[in-house]
Amino acid sequence: MSWTLLSVEIALAALGSVLLMLGLLLPEKGRRVMQPVAVIALLGILILGGGLYTAQYSLFNGNYQIDPFGSFFKLLFVAAGILVILSAGRYLERFEERVNEFYSFMIFALLGMVVMASAGELITLYIGLELMTVSFYILTAYLLQDKLSAEAGLKYLILGALSSAILLFGISLVYAVTGTTVIADMAAQFSMQPVMIAGIILILTGFAFKISLVPFHMWAPDIYQGAPIPVTAFLAVGSKAAAFAAMVRVFVIAFPVSTFDWPLLLAILAAITIVVGNLIALVQTDIKRLLAYSSIAQAGYIIVGLVAYNTYGLKGVLFYAMLYVFSNMGAFAAATIVEVETGSTDIKAFNGLARRSPMVAAIMTVCMLSLAGIPPTAGFVGKFYLFSGAIQADYLWLAFVGLIMSMISVYYYLKVAKAMYIGTNDDVSAIKPGKAVGAALWVCLAGTLLFGLYPGPLSNLAQVAIQIFL
């Protein structure tokens, strides 16, 4: 066994600790270097993770899996982390002296996600999940002076803890039936008992909470709205993707479809999620809340891939999760810029953005369209994979619901575009986003368009990653 296989995890843990200490050691002014330090270190870790992409090992008796599937998500998380930190930009000035802790909590949340993606065993998975979630509790409530932020933190804490309890109870029931918590060993011990099914449903609930499937989505809008924007972004992108990674691994490997038709169950949940998420998003006026409902709907789309339970579908899950990072981060980065500039997260704050900063408006539009699944953005390719999978698996109705709702979703995405392009604003001064945020925006745009126009490489990566399930 080689420790290099765990180098990503180790590096992240080290980075988190170093940043924490660096914050203590550095004088207040010197803390500005923390952003570049964090970004450069994460870039390094990204390269490290890329190097280990094809490695496939089972560590600690199967408790920890190093495989392309996990690696794919690790890259995703680290990329999301980099983008979040870049796009946070001037927003972080509100955290004043506590900014150093912000970085290290981000890194620890990242570590939690990475553990979740690679966990080969339910309790390990739980540890990763809790590491991530607890970090997020703190991050959500980071603006303690802000009533909304604190309230969001508390709500998240209560509901999160409740869902962990449910998840754990499910794990314990499954453990009771199969006698093991190692995912790879569970299928062999699988037996169709009421307790087992109750356990599966409870585990499903736990994950569904994290990925905000209806009716376990209720926390998301409130928390997304209350949390600081960078945290919201990371929550929407990272925590959701981590839950997907874990969920795919657990469900595909541990629970054979032949004995319990959980895809049908998920299909129903996905359909409800897509419909409800999109419908409520139609009437939202706060950009963060709108993106929250949008991300609920997006979760529904991604679940379609898991429902399909075949090459296209699983590939779609991975592909979509990755493009979702870029598209969603682009939208959030733009929202961050607007909030920093106007102090508001209302859609009205976007009025006239196309004149104040055409670049930001254009990128925001492209990212939104990607979320809506309009070509030539990556979102379209992702949906194409997901729904190809669904149709192949004979879930035609689901494809209908999904695609029609996704076209309806264009309405609220365009509502934002409309505000940007024809809204009028008293303040017409030009907005100049900082270099870091600008870079993040451009990366998001590049990712969104590149994966849309030339999906081949990413598709291949995803193909390699899902080999372990086939």
């Binding site: 169950l265 139609l282 309806i408």
Partner: protein, 625 residues
């Protein structure tokens, strides 16, 4: 003899079109040049037509000449553009080109100084080209194309003075009414294409001869007939023609008297092989024609507008021709078409000369004693009227007589009597017009003056034609006309002295009555009007047909339009908006599930778990059972 002229016959069509294109693209800033070009083009066409006709008639060409090129080709459908030259064509060529040439020359004077002088000549060229294309067509596709183009030219020329509401509306009315007819014609053509797979006249003639399904043929003929009814303004699609008098008078002369309106008659003649295959339709044609002849003549009796009187007279005469077709006297009908073209265009041009002279006035009661001021116009008009009334030996006499003979000898006694009655009326209303306008006791119009030579010379030429054109078909020249313009199986009736005598007497009687009333005023026409005010009003208002159509149009067409628009806005759009509102409304309702109360959220979650468990349990039970 002039066989080479046949090879150049395509130029007859092309020259006017070329003139149109040149004027439209380059010359519209130079009115004189435009006019020269247009006249030159039609002149050349005329020359060629004369050569062609000479070849056909004098050279004794017995076979038809036909060339064509592919115009629209795809598997299963071919439409050619071609030329078909036989006696029928040759006659039409001569008529069209000669009248067109004279009218264009006349227009030089009539339209002088009009701001749209160039456009006028451009439109005239388009018309001439289209009409010639129609006449020369060797298949129904081409015929329809030019048929519609003729309609376009008519539309443009009627609406030439587009600044006037009435002209604008008349143009639209003409086009739409014609469209209704074209609708039938097009369907008929479609039927022909589908049934026989060809649109070529000679091809069709061969096919129809061997076709036995009479029902289909009747349907096809009736559909085809709709075209002529529209174009030749037969009842019930006649309403456009009187209104078309809103156009410049030379236009009325050329298009709405001599040529275009005759296109319908020409079509019947050309497609005679189809119509004659179905006696029922032939009867229908005869009845429509006869009815129109009478119907229009009665209206003409009481009209006051000089051009409208002529217009109703034209309707009536067209009815004559159509009736001739219907009773199988195709040759006579074509003969009348030719003579009518000359004398009616003469009448119109002379009327135009009058109108021109007295500054656009068209009410006959505001004219009077014009013979002193405008001798040439007066006497040419009288010649035209005599020809129209059928006084021997003018052209109208011979041709009308042929038709009456056909009806009489063919056993259509009712139609014969009707025709005779119409002849009487014709003579009456024409001379009512003449006595009121040219002779009469009125004070006369002070500023009236004779028109310039450029206008009177065409009048004189046409007057000569009106006198002599009839001889080609008369017994005196051994029915030369009938030898060339005929159809297989035509029966020729020997002239009957009785028919000749009766029609002549009737005409003279009509003239005499008019003389008595309007010249000598032995009978006070105003009192007559009082006494028969019911009939008078009915006739004066053209049997209220226009009003009926107008009412129908408003009620049904626009009513339906409004209703459908309402439907579109409130039902079709309403559904769309309703769905959108429903979607949005659902969103609005659903958003209130987010109460902000964290424990409610927890309750939803647990409820979700319970529902899922319940579903699975139910599904499990279902599986167990």
């Amino acid at each position: 003899m002039f066989a080479w002229s046949l090879e150049l016959a395509w130029l007859i069509v092309l020259l006017p079109f070329a003139a149109f294109a040149l004027i439209g693209l380059f010359l519209h800033r130079w009115p004189r040049l435009s006019a020269y070009l247009s006249i030159l083009a039609i002149g050349l066409s005329f020359g060629l037509s004369v050569l062609v006709a000479a070849h056909v008639f004098l050279g004794g060409m017995q076979e038809t000449f036909e060339v064509s090129m592919r115009w629209l080709a795809m598997p299963g459908l071919n439409v050619d553009m071609g030329l078909l030259i036989d006696g029928l064509t040759a006659v039409m060529l001569i008529v069209v080109t000669s009248v067109a040439l004279l009218v264009q020359i006349y227009s030089w004077g009539y339209m002088h100084g009009d701001p749209g002088f160039s456009s006028y000549y451009a439109y005239q060229s388009v018309f001439a080209g289209a009409m010639l294309g129609l006449v020369l067509a060797n298949n129904f596709g081409q015929l329809f194309v030019f048929w519609e183009l003729v309609g376009l030219a008519s539309y443009l020329l009627i609406g030439f003075w587009f600044g006037r509401h009435s002209a604008k509306n008349a143009a639209v009315k003409a086009f739409i009414t014609n469209r209704v007819g074209d609708f039938g014609l097009l369907l008929g053509i479609l039927f022909l294409q589908i049934i026989f797979g060809t649109l070529n006249f000679s091809g069709l003639a061969a096919e129809v001869a061997g076709y036995t399904n009479t029902a289909i043929l009747i349907v096809v003929s009736i559909l085809l007939l709709a075209g002529p009814i529209g174009k030749s303004a037969q009842f019930p699609l006649h309403v456009w023609l009187p209104d078309a008098m809103e156009g410049p008078t030379p236009v009325s002369a050329l298009i709405h008297a001599a040529t275009m309106v005759a296109a319908g008659v020409y079509l019947i003649a050309r497609a005679f092989f189809i119509f004659s295959a179905t006696p029922e339709v032939m009867m229908l044609i005869a009845v429509i024609g006869g009815f129109t002849a009478l119907f229009a003549a009665t209206i003409a009796l009481v009209q006051n507008d000089i051009k409208r009187i002529l217009a109703y007279s034209t309707l009536s005469q067209l009815g004559y021709m159509v009736m001739a077709m219907g009773i199988g006297a195709m040759t006579a009908g074509m003969f009348h078409l030719m003579t009518h073209a000359f004398f009616k265009s003469l009448l119109f041009l002379a009327a135009g000369s009058v109108i021109h002279a007295i500054a656009g006035e068209q009410d006959i009661w505001k004219m009077g004693r014009l013979k002193d001021k405008m001798p040439i116009t007066t006497w040419t008009f009288v010649i035209g009227a005599l020809a129209l009334a059928g006084i021997p030996p003018l052209s109208g006499f011979w041709s009308k007589d042929e038709i009456l003979l056909g009806a009489f000898a063919g056993g259509y006694t009712g139609l014969y009597l009707l025709g005779t009655l119409v002849a009487f009326m014709t003579a009456f209303y024409m001379f009512r017009l003449i006595f009121v306008v040219f002779f009469g006791s009125g004070k006369g119009v002070e500023k009236a003056h004779e028109s310039p030579p450029v206008m009177t010379i065409p009048l004189i030429i046409l007057a000569v034609m009106a006198v002599i054109a009839g001889f080609v078909g008369s017994p005196l020249m051994d029915y030369a006309f009938a030898r060339f313009v005929t159809y297989p199986g035509a029966v020729h009736y020997e002239a009957s002295t009785m028919v000749i005598a009766i029609s002549s007497l009737v005409a003279i009687a009509g003239i005499g009555l008019a003389w008595a009333i309007y010249q000598k005023e032995w009978i006070n026409h105003l009192q007559m009007r009082e006494r028969f005010s019911g009939i008078y009003t009915l006739l004066y208002n053209k049997y209220y047909i226009d009003e009926l159509y107008h009412w129908l149009g408003q009620r049904f067409v626009y009513g339906t339009a409004k209703a459908l628009f309402w439907f579109d806005i409130y039902v079709v759009n309403g559904l769309v908006n309703g769905l959108a509102a429903l979607t949005g409304g659902a969103g609005k309702v659903l958003r209130y599930t987010e109460t902000g109360q964290v424990q409610t959220y927890a309750a939803y979650m647990l409820a979700g778990v319970i529902v899922i468990v319940g579903l699975v349990v139910l599904a499990g039970f279902a599986l167990l059972i």
